[in-house]
């Protein structure tokens, strides 16, 4: 249980996908203008990350690894995630139109999101849990890791949309308006997250 909590907290704060691993920057800059859009995108990402992990973990463990095809991981995962997102969209449109409308354009946008692909691949990478290094998470740990990464994405989006609402005002010098000041602000927020570096080890001592 403690293990799962460590994985969850470290994926939200320390290994934040946007701010520490710099993955998923495109939606981070594109859809963080308004807080409600940022929340919509964040929730869609959490949803897809968990679903993608649930779909790709068995593919890797039961299909690729036994046949020595670990090197096909990236291309197979892209294929599976793209199909999965399309499938989810069809199902939602039919059975939960409300949710489909709420997720809207963000769901197909995530199809090719590198943060989602990053999570599914990182599930088989190295993780530091309670001072030990684990290579390859088990299924339950992977799901928790995906949920944590999605939450981290949501957190980064919401925080940054707050920052953006302040920097887009008329006090910003004209040459910095738009993308330049957004990128500078993103780097400052990213620096702030650097402060979480050692928090997990001390939090769960």
């Amino acid at each position: 249980m403690k293990e799962l909590l460590i994985i969850l907290m470290s994926s939200v704060l320390v290994d934040n996908y946007v701010l520490s691993k710099t993955l998923g920057i495109c939606p981070f800059l594109g859809v963080s203008k308004k807080i409600d859009q940022a929340v919509g995108m964040g929730i869609a990402v959490i949803f897809v990350m968990i679903m993608a992990t649930a779909a790709t973990w068995p593919v890797q463990v039961y299909l690729l690894d036994p046949n020595g095809l670990g090197y096909l991981q990236t291309i197979v995962f892209i294929l599976v995630i793209a199909a999965l997102v399309q499938f989810i969209e069809i199902v939602l449109k039919k059975f939960i139109p409300g949710l489909h409308k709420a997720l809207g354009v963000y769901l197909p946008l995530i199809t090719t999101n590198c943060a989602v692909l990053g999570v599914t691949i990182d599930n088989f990478g190295n993780h530091s849990v309670g001072g030990e290094i684990i290579t390859g998470l088990n299924f339950g740990q992977s799901l928790v890791y995906a949920a944590g990464s999605g939450l981290g994405f949501l957190l980064a989006m919401v925080l940054f949309s707050g920052v953006r609402s302040r920097i887009d005002g008329p006090t910003t010098p004209k040459v910095f308006r738009g993308l330049p000041v957004t990128l500078i602000a993103a780097s400052v927020v990213s620096l702030a997250f650097l402060g979480f570096g050692g928090i997990i080890d001390n939090l769960f001592k």
């Binding site: 593919v59 046949n67 095809l69 294929l79 599976v80 793209a82 199909a83 199902v91 449109k93 139109p97």
Partner: protein, 277 residues
């Protein structure tokens, strides 16, 4: 080189791809959501200006309301005019209703020469911004500010700024009413194309003050009201207002107006040259 490894790789990726394709094909076949045919047809008839003149959120909203049957009026689309109304009536099988074509008109004639400035404005060059600064730089706080917010908002580029006031090209105007909502002074309104008389002032200032502020202002003298045969003109808040449902286009008011702020106009002629009436 072991070709079996290559074959296994191809087979597995191919199988995964095939499985995904089959699942998606089945899903889209069994879980497809039907789109109302009527809606698609109706939407194709609408001009797609998304102006909101019909009272719905863009053309999609109006098409949806028509398809659902929540509204049966086919003459709400002003930019589409009679052509659209007729097409919609055909699809829905309801009686054709004539669209009351409307054009936007700027009720101000405070040209640079007629209405002196009371101050020098050097701020952000939009009407909205200028209106917030003591009601704008003009001596008359009711008049056109001349920064062209309406011209920027117009989807048809029908508005241009001339001699300090906005002027609307009737031949291009589609009657969407976006400018009437954009103008911070609310001096633009939609009037029927059939109108022959227009009031060229929006000043609600009392006579003496209005006279001082602009050479072309309405002073609320009520001469037009007294001379109107059909009772279409009423002076409200020191400003003449025309009720077009009563006006019989006699033109008496224009003759008696001492300030020449009532004007004869013939929108139908220039409007009809460009739009099929």
């Amino acid at each position: 080189m072991d070709f079996r490894l290559v074959l296994i790789a191809i087979a597995i990726v191919g199988l995964i791809g095939l499985a995904c394709a089959v699942i998606l094909a089945l899903a889209s076949y069994f879980m497809s959501v039907k789109v109302d045919e009527k809606y698609t047809k109706i939407r194709a008839c609408l001009p797609g200006a998304n102006c909101g003149a019909c009272g719905y959120t863009g053309c999609d909203g109006y098409a949806k309301a028509l398809a659902d049957g929540t509204v049966s009026k086919t003459n709400l689309c002003v930019p589409g005019a009679d052509t659209t109304s007729r097409a919609l009536s055909d699809i829905l099988g309801v009686a054709f209703e004539d669209v009351e074509e409307k054009v936007a008109y700027v009720h101000c004639n405070g040209t640079c020469e007629a209405a002196p400035k009371k101050a020098e404005y050097d701020g952000i060059g939009t009407c909205r911004s200028a209106a917030l600064t003591f009601g704008g730089p003009n001596s008359c706080v009711y008049g056109c500010l001349g920064f062209g917010d309406c011209a920027d908002a117009c989807p048809e580029n029908a508005i241009c700024m001339n001699d300090g006031i906005a002027r609307i090209d009737i031949r291009k105007c589609i009657g969407c009413g976006i400018c009437t909502r954009t103008c911070p002074k609310h001096i633009i309104s939609l009037i029927p194309v059939t109108a022959k008389t227009v009031i060229q002032c929006s000043s609600q200032a009392k006579g003496a003050q209005a006279m001082k502020e602009c050479k072309n202002s309405c002073i609320g003298c009520k001469k037009c009201e007294l001379n109107c045969e059909s009772g279409a003109i009423k002076v409200v808040n020191n400003l003449a207002a025309i009720d077009y449902s009563k006006c019989n286009h006699c033109g008496k008011c224009v003759e008696v107006c001492p300030r020449k702020c009532l004007k004869l106009a013939d929108f139908a002629k220039s409007y009809g040259a460009q739009h099929a009436l």
